[in-house]
Assembly symmetry: D2
Homo-oligomer: 241 residues x 4
């Protein structure tokens, strides 16, 4: 296990909640105060107690522990997972994404890919994403309209999560490597229709939808949860010929 | 674009089917013959024609182009995707998997993770996987019973896809880093019950199920496909405290 | 079209909402007042206007227009539909139901079946159902424990929507006609297990689950609704041999 | 229990399969022969044995026991159930249906409704349905194009399961009672769009989709079935104002 550096971003993992904090100063949890400065130099995995005796495990934050500032439309793990699963996205891949939005999908892609180039036309979104993606060295952010040109070539995967993605498909084609994947994230059916009309030079075209059910298990209450997210988006995959 | 090396594994991508072949000798497609030897030294992305005029794009194979030898139970992209999406699996992670099976999930994990240690108790499966995983440098295969011990420490993610996973959970706990994820792939409800009874030292316990719908789009035929895979497995996630 | 009788229960159907009222006196809608007394003697289907000009169509209430007093657990149309669709419930059938609950399912059954005998052990529920089922001539209500005996014989369909339905199955068996259907409405998996252990003298045993998706259509917004009811119950069907 | 009449249609219900036969002569099951003529005059519910000792319970056939001659497109119990559940279809209702097809939905509707008027434009389908619906006294069959006119008035529910249902909606409107339900069964999204463009004089417009999962229960194998029907149709409901 590695050691906790002073000021490092750490995660306090309790039995019911987690906090993302810096290893310095005092911190007030819901169950008392912790001296975070005292953690520097210790090994990850140690237990830290509040003055009220509540125990937390100090861990190196994983992607899922981060708490990015969120904009209304967030891409869910189920959809990020389908994109990765069906494109075979891996650590050798160079990815182009548009739009960046809050950067939540960018973070997930950058956690895996060699490099992520991400385009965002709106300045307000660009600012939010800049904050969320601070320190991610393999992310290249651009406050530009992807429809006016993708500067990169030989791209492995292009992901479009934006209004009117049909207008970005010719640029995506030019940027993609032969065999590379185009992925379009479409909340509504009409958008998919417009996208399909532009896919003449692509092959292996496919549209899927992922539905996630959460379950309660055991204690005589084994059942799917009552509330469920009914829909986020349809995912269209196509490969550049 | 990089150049095609002699004998390299290449993918011939046509408008309706793909072939995985080596760049040497002659090859018979469904639509005539191609001289693959002549492709060596050319750039990826070139078009190759059969003697009957059928055109293929020559691409570097992606994970999804490979055709591993398959055993009956195959983990689907939707489930691999959920595992990656919900653990935030990334390129810095060290993963332990059991059992290897045919190695299909191992391939997907190794495409992303820094290192994958995979355990398989059955010798016949181990042999199939050995063939499928040939050349993957960040995979460490073991023909061992994971319940008798996991040799690695400070593991980020342990994935159990095996009979009686409840017997491997104590070992998984010892191998995992604090904050690391345990994932159990369970086809049936009863298995989840037995797994939950062993999760006392874990937190953030959660069971989900992913359902994938394929769609036909356009041409007055926009609708979900008639045939659908109704179930593969439930996925249980838990984090070591 | 038949004529509106004085004091009859009528439904005012507007373009956005419906009211269930008696044909007498004045009534205040959200958009002004209507003289309901003046409707008596007119034909169903006439338009009634409020003093503010808002128009309503006066219709004979259908089952779906009624507004029974509801208790927390309500059986949904999707589940009532599956019960009817899979048992082939029809107008010649004699049905036994337990428990009555608020009587919502009883109303749906009585709308179709020749006769419904319904058992409810709790006195508070029995009172609510008594009010909701007032005037339904083919309903026979009993404030009794169905596990202590079903008085009827030669029943076509027995529906159990109650705690511990496994304790009522022997009585259901005795009440059912050969070929008659037992239906058990089970929110959780554990209950189904206990029910199956009592089905030795039944055949054609089957458990299903119905999931309903609501769609938005057109206006560039064709998509499943974001919010969805993830689960109500599993339905088990079995036939008395 | 009523008595078995000579020549009556009866159902032999075994532990694994059912036969629909007439109560006369000899009959060969998969497990030996039964003398059906000897059953006349006995009570329903008696056990009949083949000469090889296989036992069957003799029951009055329910709707679900009938074996109509089937055409390719069959309406499933889940969809019939949703139609009944969401319209509150009951025994006082007069229903119009188009097209008849093989008559499978007609049978289900006639099992509940007071009267069913069913239109079928194709003569070959009309012949199949005529055979399937023989003896159902509350069914009125017409080998006519529903778009050219519905002869009935004051109808409670009109169900359209046909190509180009948008062309029948004006006729449906004229036939329906105020407050009556229009139901359109649409396999594809584009059809729903065309239907919506004709619904100006309707209210409470709603489109839903029902998904049915079958489960295996118990024996350490509790799980949804692997194979699943992914899609049949979308159901659109609207009420005449």
């Amino acid at each position: 296990m590695s050691k906790i550096k002073k000021n490092a971003l750490i995660c306090l993992m309790g039995d019911d909640r987690r906090y993302i904090v810096k290893a310095k100063g005092e911190f007030s949890t819901n169950n008392g105060q912790i001296d975070l400065g005292a953690l520097a130099g210790k090994e990850y995995g140690i237990k830290a107690k509040t003055h009220l005796g509540k125990e937390f495990t100090v861990i190196e934050p994983r992607l899922v522990d981060l708490r990015p500032k969120r904009l209304p439309q967030i891409v869910m793990p189920k959809d990020i997972g389908l994109i990765i699963g069906h494109t075979g996205l891996g650590k050798k891949d160079i990815v182009v994404e548009a739009g960046t939005g809050s950067g939540v999908m960018t973070m997930a892609l950058a956690n895996i890919a060699k490099k992520v180039h991400t385009y965002e036309i709106r300045e307000d979104f660009f600012k939010v994403a800049t904050e969320n993606l601070k320190g991610m060295k393999n992310v290249d952010m651009k406050n530009k309209d992807v429809c006016k040109g993708i500067e990169e070539k030989d791209i492995d995967v292009v992901i479009l999560d934006m209004g009117a993605p049909e207008n970005a498909i010719d640029e995506a084609y030019k940027a993609l490597k032969p065999g590379g994947f185009l992925v379009v994230y479409s909340p509504v059916i009409e958008q998919i229709d417009r996208v399909y009309s532009k896919l003449g030079k692509f092959t292996s075209i496919r549209t899927i939808e992922g539905i996630q059910r959460d379950w309660d298990i055991g204690n005589n209450k084994t059942r799917p949860r009552t509330r469920m997210l009914g829909h986020t988006a349809f995912l269209t995959f196509a490969r550049r010929m």
